[in-house]
Symmetry: C4
Subunit: 235 residues, 4 copies
C-alpha cells in the first residue's frame, strides 16, 4: 500500500524531481530542506506507505507526527521529495519510488536528481562531491562540476529513483558528498547543494547552510575537546 494524497495541483513546467530523503549523514535531507526554505516551496502532496514504520512519533509538547514523505513545488521548476523516513523494505522502496516517479512524470518531469552522503572514515578539508548518471551526456556535464565519480552501489531512494526513472524514460544524476555519516552533516549538504545549484542553474543562497555547517563544526569540536579532556584526566 502506497498512498499519495494530492493537496493541490502544483504549477510546474518540465519539472526536475529532486530527492531529499533521510540517509547517510542526512545530506540529502538537509539540502532538500534548504531548497524548500530558500525557494519558498509549497507542499502539494503527502505520501504514506505501509513500508514505513508502524508507529507515530511524538514531538515536543505532545504533538504527533506520522512517518511521511512529502512533495514540494519550488520555483515552478522543481519537485522536491522530502520526508522523515524511507521505506523499510525493498518491495516498499520500489513501490514508493515508482509511484512518485509516475506522479512526477504526469507533471512533465523528464529528469531526476538525487543526493546523498558518501561515507568516509575521515573527511579532510572540504568534503568532495562525486557523481553518477544514467546517461553519458548527463554524466559528462556532472563530472565537470565534481571531484570524481561514484564507485559502488547507490543505496535507497537515491539509487532506485535513478534506475526506475531510466525505465520510465527519464534521465538521472546523483551527487554524493563525503561525510563521516554519523551526524546531520550541514557541511556536506552545502557542498552537494553548491554543485547541484550549478548543475541545475538554480539560484539559491547558501549562507544559512554555511552558518549551520559552522555551528555544527563548533559543536563537534567542543564535543571532541571535552572527550579528549576526559581522556587526559584518566591518564
Amino acid at each position: 500500500m502506497c498512498v499519495i494524497k494530492l493537496l493541490k495541483e502544483p504549477e510546474l513546467e518540465e519539472p526536475i524531481l529532486i530527492e531529499g530523503l533521510p540517509g547517510i549523514g542526512f545530506v540529502a535531507n538537509i539540502a532538500a530542506m534548504h531548497i524548500i526554505r530558500e525557494l519558498k516551496g509549497e507542499k502539494f502532496a503527502i505520501v504514506t506507505s505501509s513500508s514505513f514504520q508502524d508507529f507515530a512519533m511524538t514531538v515536543e509538547g505532545g504533538g504527533v507526527r506520522a512517518p511521511i514523505n512529502e512533495l514540494y513545488e519550488c520555483a515552478g521548476r522543481y519537485i522536491v521529495l522530502y520526508g522523515n523516513t524511507q521505506a523499510g523494505s525493498n518491495v516498499g522502496q520500489y513501490e514508493l519510488c515508482w509511484r512518485i516517479l509516475e506522479l512526477a512524470k504526469r507533471y512533465g518531469c523528464e529528469f531526476v536528481l538525487t543526493m546523498g552522503g558518501y561515507r568516509r572514515e575521515r573527511v579532510v578539508g572540504r568534503p568532495k562531491v562525486y557523481c553518477a548518471a544514467t546517461d553519458p551526456d548527463v554524466l559528462e556535464e556532472a563530472r565537470e562540476l565534481c571531484d570524481g565519480v561514484v564507485a559502488g552501489n547507490i543505496y535507497g531512494a537515491a539509487g532506485l529513483l535513478l534506475g526506475l526513472g531510466k525505465l520510465m524514460g527519464m534521465k538521472g544524476v546523483c551527487f554524493l558528498a563525503e561525510t563521516p555519516g554519523f551526524y546531520p552533516d550541514a557541511r556536506a549538504a552545502k557542498e552537494v547543494l553548491s554543485v547541484v545549484s550549478k548543475f541545475l542553474g538554480m539560484e539559491i543562497d547558501l549562507t544559512r547552510l554555511e552558518q549551520a555547517a559552522i555551528l555544527t563544526e563548533g559543536m563537534l569540536r567542543d564535543l571532541l575537546e571535552e572527550e579528549e579532556g576526559r581522556k587526559g584526566g584518566i591518564v
Copy 2:
C-alpha cells in the same frame, strides 16, 4: 489481505473510534472491554488479516478461536476496536488500520482516540496518564486532564491510527497510563479510562474495573510475598 465482515449496519452518529487492541500491559484491551461491557456494545463487524498469526487458539474444553479484531457499536456514539491480536508486520498494520479508518469514516467518524500502556520500571502510587494529539486544540484539552505528555514513539495501532487518521482528515488523541507492562494491568486501564471518560463526556461506571484492579493487586502482593518468603527460606 484484510477482510472486514459486516455483521449488521450499526446506528452511529458522528462516532468516535476508540482503539482497544492488546499491547503493553493490555491497558487498552482491558479498558475497551470495560467500555463494551458497561455500555452494552454490540459487535457489528469482524476483521481478519493475513498478518495475524497463522494458527487457531484453543480455549478451555476444546473450543477454537481465530486471531481476530472486532468492531463494537457503543451508545450510538463510539466505535470500539477490540480484539485478541495486532497485525504481525508493519505492512499488515498499515493495511488493517487503514481499512478500519475507512470504515469508520464511512459512518461519519472524524475523531480517533487510542489508549495504551506507558512502560515504567516502577510505578509508584496512582499510575500517571500521559497524552499526545495530532492537533493543537485537542492536545490542549487533553493536557488539562493528564499528568503530562508522551515523549517518544507510540507503537502499534495506537500510534498508526493517529497518523493515518490525520492523513484522512481525522483528529486524534492518545492516552497512555504508566504500567510495568508484564501483567494485564487493570489499575492502569482504570486510570486511562477515567481520563478518557472525562475527555469524551462518556458516562461510565468504573467500579468493576476498580474491583479488578484491587483483585490483581492482591494477587501480585501474594506472589511477591511468596517469592520473598522463598528467598528468606534460602537465606
Copy 3:
C-alpha cells in the same frame, strides 16, 4: 499470488473439506493420501502459491515436481486437500486457506475437518486422539470419539482453515493424534483416520494403513536395536 487451476468440475454434494497437508509426523498427509487411494479420489484442482518454496524438486530418474497443493474429489462427498508443502509465511497461509475455502464454499461446503499430529516426547501404546471444534455441537460429538481435547494452539493450515472457515460461516473440527513427530507416523495417521471415519460415517478400509504402521514400527525397532547394539559395543 495464489493460483488455483481447475482441472475439471467435480461432482459434489454438500461436501466436507478434509485437510491433509504435511505437518507434524506427516499424520494428516498420510491419512489424506489413504482416503484418496481407498475412495479412488479424483484430482480436480491444483494450487500454487508464491509462498511455496522457490525451487523444483527432482524425483528419481530426473523427473521434476513443483511444490504444490491439490484438491481431490472423493466419493462425491469429500474435498481432500493434499500436497507436498504448506505456505512458508503467514500471509501466504492466509491467502492459500482463504482461496481454498472460497472454492470449497462454491461447491456447497459447510464443514471443514482438519487433522494433524500432537507432538509428544514419548507415545506409549495406542496414540491418543484429541479434538477441538469451532462449534459446541460439533465439539460434543467429536469429544465422544476422542481421548480428550486439544490444549494450546493449532498451527498451520489445520488451525487456519478452522478459523477462517468460521468467518465464512463453516463449522469445523480438528483431530490430532499423538506422535513423536520426527518420522512419517502411519500409526498416528491410522488412529486419526479411525476417529475421522467414525465422525463422518465414512466407509473406509484401514488395513493398508495398519500394514504401513506395522512396517514402520518394525523399521524403527530395528534401528533402535542396532543403535543399542552399537552403544553396547562401545561399552
Copy 4:
C-alpha cells in the same frame, strides 16, 4: 510489483524460453550471454521487480545500472531471459517467473529450457552435465545427451520456471553442469551449451566460449601457483 516493459514486438514462432539468470558459477548467465551474442539476439523487453535489490549499481566512469532482467529474441526461435539479478524473495521469484512465462506463452511458447551450475567440491576433467525434465519424453531425450540426472532440488528461476511452466501446460527441461561455483565458470557454461545446442538443434559457434574457458583456467592456474608459491615460502 513486477513490471515488464515491451520495447518492441518480437517476431517469434513457437519459441523456446531459455533461462540465463545469474546463479551458481554464473553458468546460465554466461551461456545465455553467449547465445545472445552469437545469434545476434535483440532485446525486446525489460523486466523490473520490487523484489530486486533496492539500489543502483555504478559502472566504470560513473554510469548507473539498475538491477534488471531482459528478454532477447534470438533467431526467431528463442526467447532468452538474461539479467544481472534474480528476485530476492520467493514471493518475488514466483511473480517474476509467472509473468515471464505468461508473456512467453502469449508468443506461442510451449517449452522452457533452464540452465545452471551443479556445485561440486572438485571438478575433475570435463565438467559433467546433468538433466531433469517435467515430462518423460523430454527426459528420455535429454538423458541421451547427458552424463546423468539431477538429484536434489533445483533452486531459483531454473527450478521455478519448470514447475510453474508445467502448471501452464509447458514442457520443460533443465541442464546443469558441474562447477566449483565460486567464479564465473566459462568451461561449465560451454559444456552446458554444448548439450543445449544439440538438444535444441541450435547452430551456434562455441569457439569464443572455449577461449574464455581457457583464459579463465589460465588465470586460475596462475592464482593457484602463486598461492602455492607463497605457501612454499612460508615453509
